[in-house]
Symmetry: C2
Subunit: 321 residues, 2 copies
DNA sequence: GGAGTTATACTCATAGCGAGCATAAGGAAA
DNA sequence: TTTCCTTATGCTCGCTATGAGTATAACTCC
C-alpha cells in the first residue's frame, strides 16, 4: 500500500550524501560498594570509558559494552541511554562530533587494581551532592557565598534576581527544599558562575581560586551529572536499585545503597514498609549477623516481579532526618 | 592541574580516525487542535520531518529546527530530545546510520494546506490508543484475539506464558489497569506479533490480513510511539501542556487537551482543583460563552511559574469514567 | 547481666486524590 | 417566560499513602 509515497520518501531517510560525522560512545557505569556510589573511570579518574562507534558494532549498546569491557574488563548489566550531544569537532577540520552517552549499572566485584582505570566515588566529583551526614560544609562555606556573589554581579537587577531565583531553587534556599534530583541544574549553575574548573579551563583565570570537586576531561563531568540525576529520579519509580545489589542482602544494606545514590537519609521503618508492601523482595531464609545488633533477615529480589509487572513502582520514602 | 593526565586522555575523546557515520535528525512535532492530538508529517503522512545533520548546523537542536521549517514552514517552540538509534545503513555500503529523534510541541495555527506535509491525528497511527470514548473496538475485535493467539503459538509453554504476561500488562488484562503510558511497549508487542505493517513489510506475507493503524516509512511510527509515551508521562509532572495551548483558554479546553494526549478522560472537578491549587494559571478576567452552558472564565498560563519554581509538578487526575 | 546496636512491629495524623452531590449561569426549546 | 439541557464551579466524603514516632525483640561486647 502507498508504495509510491513510501518510495518517494526514502531519500529523506537513507540520504545518499555521506556526511563527515564522528560518533563516540560514552559510558557512565555505576556501582555501590560499602555505601559509596562509584563510577567507573579511566585515565586516572579523569575520564569516563568511551570510544568511537565502529562498523563492527552491531548496535549502539553492543558497541558501548565492547568499549567498556576493552578498557576496564568490566561487563555491563543494565544499560540505558542518557543523551546525545554534538559539538563542532575540536580538531578544526570540518567534522561534527557526536557523543552518545549511556548509564550502566553493575556491581563492583573483581576489585582488580589497575593503573589506568578504577572506581571513584561520585562525590569526589560532586562533593556538594552528599547530604547523608547533613549539609556538606563546602556548600555554606564556599559555594553559596560565591553563587550569591555571582548573582549579585549580574549586569542588571533583572538578571540578578533571576540568577538568585535559580540558585535558590537548585540549592534549596528560602522556602525551597533541597531536591536531590537537580544534580545537573546545580552543576550547570556552578559552571555558569565559573565555580567548576571546566568553566575556566584554558581561560586566563587571574587568580586560580580553590574550586571544589574533581574535574574531568571535556564534558565528562557534565555527563556524570546527567547520569546521577537520571538515576536519582529513576530509583523512585523503577526497581533499578537491585541491579546494584548482590544476590542476597539485608534491608539495611538495600537502604544504604538507596541512600548512597540519593545522597540523603531515609526513614528506616518507612523504607521497610514500602519495600515489603510492594513485594519487591522475598526472604531467603538465612539471617545475617550484622556488625552489631540483632541479626537481620536476608532478602533477594523477586525476579518474578519483572515478568509480572515488568515495571513496578518503587518508591523512596523521603526524610529530612 | 593534572594536565598530563588530561592530555593523555584526549585521544579517547576527539579520536583521529574519522568514521563513516550518517546522522539524521527526526522530529515528532505535536499540536492539539479541536481535541485531537496531531503530529506534523510529510510525504502524504507517511514520514516524520527529518533530514541529515549538516555542517552548517550550530547544534542538533538548531539543525532540527532548520529541517522542520524548511520542510513544513512551521517554527518550533519547545523541543526535547527523545532517543538516538543506529542501524547498519540500508544502502549496503559500510555506513552506520544514526537517527537522533526529538519531540517538539507547538500550536497548529497557520493551517495552510500543502500537498507534501500536514497534520495528522496520532490516533490514525495508533487507533488502539484512544480510550476517551471507552475501549476502542479494534482492541477486543481484532488485536486482543490475535495477540492471545500469538502468545499461544509460542514454541514452549514458558515463552507462551511470558508473552501472555506481557500482553496482559501492556494492554490491561486480568487485574492490570490500562496504562496509557505504555504506548511503546504496546507497539513493540504488536510488532513482535506481526500485527503492524512495518513488521511484515517486504516479507512474503501469505495472506495480507487487515492490520489496524496507518504505517509509516522506516521506523518512524516507532519513533512516534516513543514521543507519545514520553509526552503522556511528562504532562503528569511538568507543565508542558501549556506549550500546546493558545494564550487564553478555559479550564475545559485545557482539560480536553490533556485528555487528547492521555487518550483517556479525567474527572472534571478534580482536574480543576489540581490545576488551580498549583497556581499554574491565572484568570484573564474575560469569560467565554461556550458552545452551550454557563460561560467559563478564561485563564492564562502563569509565566511566573517558570521563573519561580522552574519545574513545578503538574499532576493529572486519573479516572476510569 | 547491663549497655549498646540493629531489627521489626505498630500506631497516629495528615495530605492527596478519586468520586460524587449540589448549585450557578447561560442558551434553546416549549 | 418557563422548562430543560448543558457547562461551570464549589464543596464534602472516604480511603490510601506516607512522614514520623513509640515500643519491643534479638544479638554482641564488656
Amino acid at each position: 500500500m502507498q508504495d509510491k509515497a513510501i518510495q518517494a520518501a526514502k531519500h529523506l531517510v537513507g540520504n545518499s550524501r555521506s556526511q563527515i560525522v564522528n560518533a563516540d560512545l560514552i559510558a557512565v557505569v555505576i556501582a555501590v560498594t560499602n555505601g559509596e556510589p562509584r563510577s567507573l573511570t579511566i585515565e586516572q579518574a579523569h575520564a569516563l570509558p568511551s570510544g568511537p562507534l565502529e562498523l563492527g558494532h552491531r548496535s549502539l549498546q553492543s558497541g558501548l559494552r565492547a568499549w567498556v569491557e576493552r578498557q576496564t574488563g568490566h561487563p555491563l548489566g543494565y544499560i540505558e541511554q542518557l543523551y546525545t550531544f554534538a559539538d563542532r569537532d575540536r580538531t578544526g577540520d570540518e567534522h561534527v562530533q557526536i557523543s552518545i552517552s549511556y548509564l550502566g549499572l553493575t556491581r563492583e566485584e573483581q576489585a582488580e587494581r589497575s593503573a589506568t582505570h578504577g572506581w571513584r566515588s561520585w562525590y569526589d566529583y560532586f562533593p556538594w551532592e552528599d547530604h547523608r551526614a547533613g549539609v556538606p560544609p563546602v556548600l555554606p562555606d564556599i559555594l553559596m557565598p560565591r553563587l550569591l556573589a555571582w548573582a549579585g554581579d549580574a549586569q542588571d537587577p533583572n538578571m540578578s534576581h533571576d540568577r538568585r531565583q535559580r540558585v535558590a531553587y537548585a540549592f534549596g534556599l528560602d522556602d525551597h527544599d533541597w531536591n536531590e534530583e537537580l544534580v545537573l541544574q546545580r552543576y550547570e549553575l556552578l559552571y555558569e558562575a565559573a565555580l567548576v574548573e571546566e568553566a575556566v579551563r584554558g581561560r586566563d583565570n587571574g587568580s586560580p581560586r580553590s574550586i571544589p570537586g574533581r574535574p574531568m576531561i571535556a564534558d565528562h563531568r557534565r555527563i556524570l551529572a546527567t547520569a546521577i540525576a537520571r538515576l536519582r529520579t529513576k530509583i523512585k519509580y523503577r526497581p533499578v536499585v537491585f541491579e546494584l545489589m548482590p544476590p542476597a542482602f539485608t534491608l539495611l544494606q538495600l537502604q544504604r545503597t538507596v541512600e548512597a545514590l540519593a545522597g540523603r537519609l531515609v526513614h528506616k521503618q518507612n523504607f521497610r514498609r514500602l519495600i515489603e508492601q510492594q513485594d519487591l523482595v522475598e526472604e531467603t531464609g538465612e539471617t545475617m549477623s550484622a556488625t552489631g545488633g540483632r541479626p537481620a533477615k536476608r532478602f533477594r529480589f523477586r525476579q518474578a516481579i519483572l515478568a509480572e509487572r515488568a515495571v513496578a513502582g518503587t518508591k523512596l520514602p523521603l526524610s529530612r532526618t
